[in-house]
């Protein structure tokens, strides 16, 4: 029997049992759609995180005490502003060095209050990281040197404390100490569920006095060029190790952060796809089941076809094609459903979703393979039926 003919016969058989075919396909549709959707969400999240890490600014080098590895507890920093000066000497350009000392604190303005993160920073922060102001100005060298109590509010904090008036020039109490608002950041949005606009920047000197500490949590350096970035990191770490022989320091680049995050999100995407794959597998078992029923139901037809000259292979191919047709039509429908849902999710919810061609190809390929794998047994059974017995079946 010619292949085109076999396709036609298989299509006719599916059409003859529309409802059953549709229900059988539903299993595959759901399986493929969930694979496509979950992979899209995983990929979209990964892309967004990568964008955000890259959006921090290019050629960034983060220097922190301890080791940057998944599962390592943060270390209390032994760094002080003197260490920052030493690092600045290594770098050779004070505008390329930023620091942070951060702590949670309650910000209060009049009757309103908001628990937020207060970051003690240098005036270089907007150049090292890419941050834009919506209103007012950022900290100045003088603000930092004199420990002036001025603050730049994140978008969320500004909205929470001053919903109906201009925050510029207003007083904000941070941990009970008054600061004057001199600027408001442009909104950044969320990243990995964290509100990046929920922060207040104050001069690092003022922050240290506020908490009674000399500590600096971390140093960020904007390297002059990408080629020198690893070398520069090594030099900085060497200098810090000389100054603090008891502590280990790490200098990580964006590429390394991206690598670690990419690994984590890659595993996450894989797990999501595997879970969705299970539903595809269940759909495949459904196809197998229905094909066995179909073989039994059409035993007489099989007997007749054999009597008029169908070879075992002709019958087997007919039923195998039927199974493959079920899963591939289901697969295509599932792909459309998955893509549609992913686009909706991306547009209407904060969850990012990105369609990748490989997830579509994979889903379609898997559904076709599922059809073959789960169609083989029923097809063989059909092909081997004894025509005498088959014709006698009522």
């Amino acid at each position: 029997m010619r292949v085109a003919e076999a396709w036609r016969v298989a299509l006719d058989a599916l059409r003859a049992n529309r409802l059953r075919s549709a229900l059988t396909m539903l299993g595959v549709i759901i399986g493929v759609a969930s694979v496509v959707l979950l992979v899209a969400i995983g990929t979209g999240t990964k892309q967004k995180v990568e964008q955000q890490v890259e959006g921090l600014g290019s050629n960034l080098l983060l220097v922190v005490p301890g080791r940057i590895e998944v599962g390592n507890a943060p270390v209390v920093s032994p760094l002080t502003l003197k260490d920052v000066d030493a690092v600045t000497r290594v770098v050779g350009d004070p505008d390329r060095v930023a620091v942070t000392v951060a702590s949670g604190a309650t910000a209060r303005a009049g009757a309103r209050s908001d628990f937020t993160t207060v970051q003690g920073v240098l005036e270089t922060t907007p150049t090292v990281f890419t941050r834009e102001l919506a209103r007012g100005r950022y900290l100045t060298r003088t603000d930092v040197d004199t420990g002036r109590r001025v603050a730049v509010l994140g978008d969320s904090v500004a909205r929470a404390l001053f919903p109906d008036r201009d925050p510029l020039g207003q007083q904000v109490a941070l941990a009970g100490v008054r600061f004057r608002v001199i600027g408001v950041f442009a909104p950044l949005g969320q990243s990995l569920g964290v509100d990046r606009d929920d922060e207040v920047h104050v001069p690092v000197t003022a922050a240290q006095r506020l908490w009674g500490t000399q500590r600096v949590d971390g140093i960020a350096v904007k390297a002059p060029d990408r080629e020198r970035i690893d070398e520069l990191g090594e030099q900085i770490v060497a200098e810090l190790n000389r100054r603090h022989p008891d502590t280990e320091f790490s200098a990580v680049t964006q590429q390394q952060i991206l690598g670690v995050l990419g690994d984590i999100l890659g595993v996450l995407t894989g797990v999501l796809a595997a879970i969705a794959g299970i539903s595809l597998l269940v759909g495949g078992v459904g196809v197998s089941n229905i094909m066995l029923v179909s073989v039994r139901e059409r035993t007489r037809e099989i007997g007749l076809r054999k009597a008029v000259g169908a070879r075992p292979r002709d019958i087997g191919v007919q039923f195998l094609l039927e199974a493959v047709l079920l899963t591939t039509i289901g697969g295509l429908t599932g792909m459309a459903l998955g893509v549609g849902t992913a686009l909706l999710v991306d547009a209407l919810s904060p969850i990012p979703a990105a369609i990748t061609w490989w997830s579509l190809a994979l889903a379609f390929g898997v559904s076709a393979v599922v059809g073959i794998v789960f169609g083989v047994v029923p097809a063989q059974r059909a092909g081997r039926l004894d025509p005498v017995v088959a014709l006698r079946t009522e």
Partner: protein, 299 residues
């Protein structure tokens, strides 16, 4: 026709089934020759082995003993796919229950055997339509089985059996599901096609009148041929008793040369009387699937 090779030749053919560990001898040494153009009625009580013999003659089944040659090919030497091709090229089947594909038009039902022969769709339709015309259904090409009467459905089945121009047409109670008027018309059609195209017609029937019209009549009982009007020596009124050895000894092995002359024409007149004697057995309508009925039970 004389001198042509036989369409089917069975030599001491037996068929034993294993049912739940019990051996059931459905055929116990049957020898016969079907010549091209023969018109044979196969009669006998239920469980006598008629259906088993039909399945063997049609290449749907294989003998467990003896030699069976269909269209010049020894069935025992053929693999399943070759058997399928043999059936497609040599045999046409007509069943009591029609066995048409539902939801499929008459012309497509008739064209089905051509599908497995690799004939193009256009040619299939042409040949199927022509064949439907020959059985008087030229106006029913695109009707589906459920839109046709029983007689029409059986005509479609006959057209399907003949569209491949087989040498043998095997009909298993072709009129069994039809009323007498329709049945007679179908029978006439079969006889006409047999006479016109020279296809050998082997027909299982319970109907004495139908059997009486055949040119040759083979009576079976308990898995053996007890009478063959084409071979007067094999005509016996009584079946072999239970404890016989191989009943094959009662049937002369067909050595094709001398028998082919007497096989077709001259057998006809004697067929009427000889066959009547052979078919005196009662016809209890037991399940066909009970080929193990012991001789003592029906005698």
């Amino acid at each position: 026709m004389t001198g042509a090779p036989p369409a089917i030749e069975a030599v001491d053919v037996s068929r034993t089934y294993q049912l739940d560990g019990v051996s059931v001898e459905a055929l116990r040494g049957v020898s016969l020759v079907v010549q091209p153009g023969d018109y044979v009625a196969l009669v006998g009580p239920s469980g006598s082995g008629k259906s088993t013999l039909m399945h063997l003659l049609g290449g749907l089944d294989r003998p467990t003993g003896g030699r069976l040659v269909i269209g010049g090919r020894d069935v025992n030497a053929l693999a399943p796919p070759e058997m399928a091709t043999l059936r497609n090229e040599t045999i046409g089947f007509v069943f009591q229950a029609f066995h048409l594909l539902p939801r499929t038009s008459a012309v497509e039902n008739v064209a089905l055997p051509l599908v497995y022969r690799g004939v193009s769709a256009r040619q299939r339709r042409e040949r199927a339509a022509a064949m439907l015309g020959r059985v008087g259904l030229g106006h029913r090409l695109d009707h589906r089985p459920n839109q046709m009467s029983g007689g029409e459905q059986q005509r479609v089945a006959i057209a399907r059996a003949l569209v491949t121009e087989p040498t043998v047409l095997l009909a298993d109670e072709p009129t069994g599901n039809l009323d007498s008027v329709t049945g007679a018309a179908v029978l006439e059609l079969l006889e006409q096609l047999n006479a016109e195209s020279g296809v050998a017609l082997v027909m299982v029937t319970h109907d004495q009148e139908v059997a009486a019209r055949a040119q040759r009549r083979i009576t079976m009982r308990d898995g053996v041929v007890v009478a063959d009007s084409a071979d007067p020596r094999s005509t016996h009124d009584r079946p072999p008793s239970v404890d016989h050895g191989r009943p094959a000894t009662l049937v002369p092995a067909p050595s094709a040369e001398p028998r082919s002359a007497s096989g077709s024409g001259p057998g006809h007149p004697s067929g009427g009387s000889g066959g009547a004697a052979g078919a005196t057995g009662r016809l209890p309508r037991e399940a066909e699937s009970n080929p193990g009925t012991k001789p003592g039970g029906t005698a």
